[in-house]
C-alpha cells in the first residue's frame, strides 16, 4: 500500500485536485438546474433539499408566461450574431491592414486601439446616451450592435494582428508580383488563411455579446429589443417587492446558458487558442 502510494502519489493528488475543482466549478450549475426542475413550494423549504422529492418541468412554461421569453431569445440572437459578425469582419480587415500595410502612424493606431480597452465601458455611458437620444438609436438593434461590436473590436483586432504576423508574407508578395491587386490578394489568399482566427473570434465574441448586460440594460428598455440578460433582471425586478421568482429565474437561466455551453463543448480548443493568444503575445 505504501509503495503504491509512493508510486502514485502525484497522480492521486492530481486526480483529487480534479475532483475538488470539478465540484467547485459545477456546484452552482447543479443548484441552478435542480432548482429549475423543483416545484416552487419545495424550493423554499428549511432546511433546503439537495435533491427534490418530485421533479417537474412546470417552471419552464410558467416562466414563459411571465415574460416574452422567445422574443428575448430572438433579440439576444440578433444582438449577439449581429455584433459578432460585424466586429469580426471589421477587425479582420483592420488586423490585416495593421499587420501588413505598414503606413506612417500604424503603430500609433494599434496602440490607441489597445489602450482604449482600458477605458471602463460604464464610464463612457453619458455621452453615448446623449448621442443615442439625439439619433433615436435607443431600442434599435442597429444601435445596440454598433455599441457591442465596438466594445469587442480592440481585442479582436489584437488577435487578428498577431495571427496575420504568423502567416508567411511570401505568398502575398508572390501574388502581388504576379500582378494581383491588394484586394485580390486579400480576398483570395489572406482571407482563407485567416479562417482559424476568424472562427475563433466568432465563437468568443458571440459568447461575450450573448452575456452582455450593460448596453442592452441602458439602451433597450422595451420588450421588443431586450436581451435575455436584461430579461432575467426584469423577471427578478418585476417581482422584487412581492415575490421571489427563483423557480422562474432558474428555468430562464438554464435556457439562457444552453447556447454558450454548446459553444464551449464544441469550440473549446478554438476558444482557448483565442484567449491565450492575447495574453502570451
Amino acid at each position: 500500500m505504501r509503495a503504491f502510494l509512493r508510486q502514485h502519489n502525484g497522480r492521486i493528488t492530481t486526480y483529487v485536485g480534479f475532483i475538488i475543482f470539478a465540484i467547485i466549478v459545477l456546484f452552482p450549475f447543479y443548484f441552478i438546474v435542480i432548482s429549475s426542475v423543483t416545484p416552487r413550494y419545495q424550493i423554499f423549504q428549511i432546511p433546503p433539499r439537495y435533491f427534490p422529492e418530485t421533479l417537474t418541468l412546470e417552471n419552464y412554461p410558467a416562466m414563459m408566461n411571465a415574460i416574452p421569453f422567445w422574443q428575448f431569445y430572438l433579440n439576444s440572437l440578433i444582438f449577439a450574431l449581429g455584433s459578432t459578425i460585424t466586429s469580426v469582419l471589421f477587425s479582420a480587415m483592420a488586423g490585416y491592414a495593421l499587420a501588413r500595410l505598414k503606413f506612417p502612424g500604424s503603430n500609433l493606431v494599434f496602440l490607441g486601439l489597445i489602450l482604449s480597452i482600458a477605458l471602463p465601458q460604464v464610464a463612457l455611458l453619458v455621452p453615448i446616451r446623449e448621442i443615442y437620444n439625439a439619433l433615436h438609436l435607443n431600442n434599435t438593434y442597429f444601435g445596440l450592435i454598433v455599441l457591442m461590436s465596438s466594445l469587442v473590436t480592440p481585442f479582436t483586432v489584437w488577435i487578428m494582428v498577431s495571427f496575420v504576423h504568423q502567416i508567411p508574407v511570401e505568398i502575398e508578395e508572390a501574388a502581388l508580383i504576379d500582378g494581383a491587386t491588394i484586394w485580390q490578394t486579400i480576398l483570395r489568399i489572406v482571407l482563407p488563411t485567416m479562417r482559424p482566427a476568424i472562427a475563433t473570434m466568432l465563437i468568443i465574441n458571440f459568447i461575450i455579446s450573448w452575456n452582455e448586460l450593460l448596453y442592452p440594460l441602458i439602451f433597450a428598455t422595451r420588450n421588443d429589443t431586450k436581451t435575455l440578460s436584461v430579461g432575467l433582471i426584469s423577471l427578478g425586478r418585476e417581482a422584487m417587492g412581492t415575490s421571489r421568482p427563483w423557480d422562474l429565474m432558474s428555468a430562464m437561466s438554464v435556457l439562457t446558458i444552453v447556447p454558450v455551453i454548446v459553444l464551449v463543448i464544441f469550440g473549446q480548443r478554438a476558444i482557448v487558442s483565442g484567449l491565450t493568444r492575447g495574453a502570451v503575445k
Binding site: T14, G17, F21, A22, I24, L26, P28, F29, F31, I32, S35, I46, P48, F90, M93, A94, A97, L101, F103, V109, L113, S116, A118, L119, P120, A123, L124, L125, V126, P127, I128, R129, V146, S150, L151, T153, P154, V157, D178, A180, T181, W183, Q184, W210, N211, L214, L228, S229, L232, I233, M249, T256, I257, L263, V264, Q268, I271, L275, A279, V280
Partner: protein
C-alpha cells in the same frame, strides 16, 4: 492570376495609374481601417473626451440645464460617503479578486498542465464559468447565499458556522469576491496554462537531476519564467474588473446599505437618475484609477524584467 483579372479591377487600375504602390497601399489601409476607426471614434474617443468635459458641468436633463460649475462635482464626491465607500470597495474588489484569481489560476493551470492524460471534459468545464452570463452566475449565487433557503448557508450551518452572507456588510463583500473569483479564475488559468506549456521540459529534467522536488522546481523555474505573463494577465484583470458592474448590480444591488457598491454601479445609478454631470465626474475618477493601475503595471513590468 494575371489571366484572372476581372474587368472591374482592370478599370480601377486604369483609373489610377499615377498612384505608386505605396500610395495604393495607404489607400487600402485607410479603407480597411475605416470601419474600426469610425466605430471607436464614435463610441469611445468622443465619449471619453465628452465625459471629461461634462464632469465640469452640472447637468440633469429633467431639472438643470447644462451649466459649467468647475470642480463642484468633484467637491461633491469628496463629501459623498456613498461614492467614497464605493471607491474603497472598488479597490478592494479589483485588487482582491485579481490576487486570488492569479493565485487559484496558477493552481488550476498546474493541474491542467499535469503530464497525466487529462479527461477532456475537465478542460471543457473549466471554461464554463467564464462562458456563462455574469447575470446568471450572480443570480444563482445570490440564492445559494440566501439566509433562509440557501445551500451554502445550510451546509455551513451543518458544520456549526452561522454566517449572514448578504445581511452583514463584511460578509456580503466576501460573497461578491467569491463569485468574482469563481467566475474568472478559469479564464486566468487558461491564460497561465499557455505560459506553463511554454516552459521547456529540459529545465525540469535538469532540476530533477539536481534533486529538486516539485515545489522547488515550481518556485525556482516555473514562477520566474511565467512572471511577465502573470503581470500582463494581472493588469488585464485589474482593468477589466474595474468595469464590472453586473455582479453587484444583480447580486446585492450594492447592499446591504452601500457596502458592496462599486464605482461602476454608482455611475450606472447616476445615469439612470439622469445626473449626467455627476455621473461623468465619477467616470473621471474611474479613468484616474485606470491610470493608477497602468502606472503600477509598468512599474511591475520593470521589476520583473530587471529580476530576470
Amino acid at each position: 492570376m494575371v489571366a484572372n483579372v476581372s474587368p472591374p479591377q482592370a478599370v480601377t487600375r486604369a483609373r489610377s495609374p499615377q498612384l505608386t504602390l505605396n500610395q495604393r497601399r495607404y489607400l487600402a489601409a485607410a479603407l480597411l481601417l475605416a470601419p474600426v476607426i469610425l466605430l471607436r471614434l464614435f463610441t469611445t474617443l468622443y465619449p471619453f473626451l465628452q465625459t471629461i468635459v461634462l464632469s465640469f458641468h452640472e447637468y440633469n436633463p429633467a431639472f438643470t440645464p447644462r451649466t459649467y460649475v468647475g470642480l463642484e462635482n468633484f467637491e461633491k464626491i469628496a463629501a459623498d460617503i456613498v461614492v467614497k465607500s464605493s471607491i474603497e470597495f472598488t479597490l478592494i474588489f479589483v485588487f482582491g479578486s485579481t490576487f486570488f484569481q492569479l493565485f487559484f489560476g496558477v493552481m488550476v493551470a498546474s493541474l491542467l498542465n499535469s503530464r497525466l492524460r487529462i479527461p477532456n471534459f475537465i478542460r471543457t468545464i473549466n471554461l464554463i464559468p467564464w462562458a456563462i452570463p455574469m447575470v446568471v452566475a450572480a443570480v444563482g449565487w445570490r440564492w445559494m447565499f440566501d439566509g433562509n433557503y440557501g445551500w451554502i448557508v445550510d451546509l455551513l450551518r451543518r458544520i456549526g458556522l452561522q454566517i449572514n452572507w448578504l445581511t452583514d456588510p463584511a460578509s456580503a463583500r466576501v460573497a461578491i469576491l467569491i463569485v468574482a473569483i469563481w467566475k474568472s479564475t478559469p479564464f486566468v488559468a487558461v491564460s497561465i496554462l499557455a505560459g506553463l506549456q511554454g516552459v521547456p521540459e529540459e529545465l525540469y529534467e535538469a532540476a530533477k537531476v539536481d534533486g529538486a522536488n516539485a515545489w522547488q522546481s515550481f518556485w525556482g523555474i516555473t514562477l520566474p519564467l511565467i512572471m511577465p505573463l502573470m503581470v500582463t494577465i494581472g493588469m488585464f484583470m485589474l482593468v477589466w474588473q474595474l468595469a464590472v458592474f453586473d455582479l453587484p448590480y444583480t447580486m446585492t444591488a450594492g447592499g446591504p446599505g452601500f457596502a458592496t457598491s462599486v464605482l461602476a454601479y454608482q455611475v450606472q445609478q447616476k445615469v439612470v437618475t439622469l445626473n449626467y454631470g455627476y455621473a461623468s465626474a465619477i467616470s473621471v475618477i474611474m479613468f484616474l484609477i485606470v491610470g493608477l493601475i497602468g502606472a503600477l503595471g509598468l512599474a511591475a513590468f520593470r521589476r520583473v524584467q530587471v529580476s530576470m
